[in-house]
């Protein structure tokens, strides 16, 4: 094919198959560890109530970051500003909608208590 790698192509940091393959393997190992950890918290009854919500939420947040970093290759330092703005704006919208929904529904629930 005509679009094979030109001999004099600029060297791109981290661009070889072994390096990128390692990224997926690291992601898988970290994700497996975090998933098992989260299930262990519940199976072994380590936390309950608000502590469980906070602990599990933290594990989920870390695992989401691991997936974004190693599977979706999002690296904020090298990203374009557009991409960063898109993701940050979405996070803002999510926070407003999720916290707003929970707040309003909780408030309505309290008002409807007999």
């Amino acid at each position: 094919m005509s679009n094979r790698i030109p001999a004099e192509r600029p060297v791109i940091e981290g661009e070889d198959e072994g390096h990128e393959r390692r990224s997926y393997v690291i992601g898988l190992v970290l994700a497996l560890a975090l998933t098992t950890g989260a299930f262990a918290v519940v199976w072994l009854d380590l936390l309950s109530g608000v502590a469980a919500l906070a602990g599990l939420g933290l594990l989920a947040l870390i695992q989401a970051v691991v997936h974004l970093r190693y599977f979706l290759h999002i690296d904020l330092q090298r990203s374009h500003r557009d991409d960063l703005l898109l993701i940050l704006f979405t996070v803002l919208i999510l926070l407003i909608m999720v916290s707003g929904t929970i707040w309003i529904l909780y408030d309505q629930h309290v008002r409807m208590m007999p």
């Binding site: 094919m1 790698i5 661009e15 998933t35 299930f39 519940v42 599990l56 979706l72 290759h73 374009h80």
Partner: protein, 210 residues
Amino acid sequence: MSLSERLHPGLNLAGTDPEGHEAAEEVLFGFWIFLMSDLVLFAVLFATYAAMSVQGIADGPLPAEVFDLTAAFVETLLLLLSSFAFGFAILAMKYREDRRGVLVWLLLTGVLGAAFVAMELHDYYVMITQHAAPPQASGFLSAYYLLTGTHALHVSSGLVWMAIMSIQIAVLGFTAPVKLRLMRLALFWHMLDVVWIGIFTFVYLYGVAS
């Protein structure tokens, strides 16, 4: 040309296919906008579920009474391994344009994804027949089936897309449009795994823990 630059989030073709890399910037950025709006849909379903699973139990069963954590754990592993397999399919495409290799990895991804959907349907079957927990029993259960069902529907449409891409790879080979379509499917598939993290954590684990 900006070969050394990352033009979009996600895996870049970069120097392995300069033309494809240039073409990727626009379409992949557009697909990221779709992914983010899809994430908004899931976030609102999560918010509804968060309210309903606490305040919408009514006379129905509690989350801890109907969820099977072992099944949720196996489903998590299936989806994670399937996401991982897709990564290797994309690498076989990017560096070697190896049709056979890509198709084998895609088949593995698809089989794991299909097993995931099958297990979820089995979960629904067990909940409805053995725990008397159909969607209409309570607000909690309506929100549960809506949230996990929307995710399962996304995974199923990903499987259909994967079958179509396999045919395109076999018939057309790795032309630039085919490559870019497969890269978008990869982003979609990885994103669904990220959404599943939220589901297994807040629906299954927190549901059983609280």
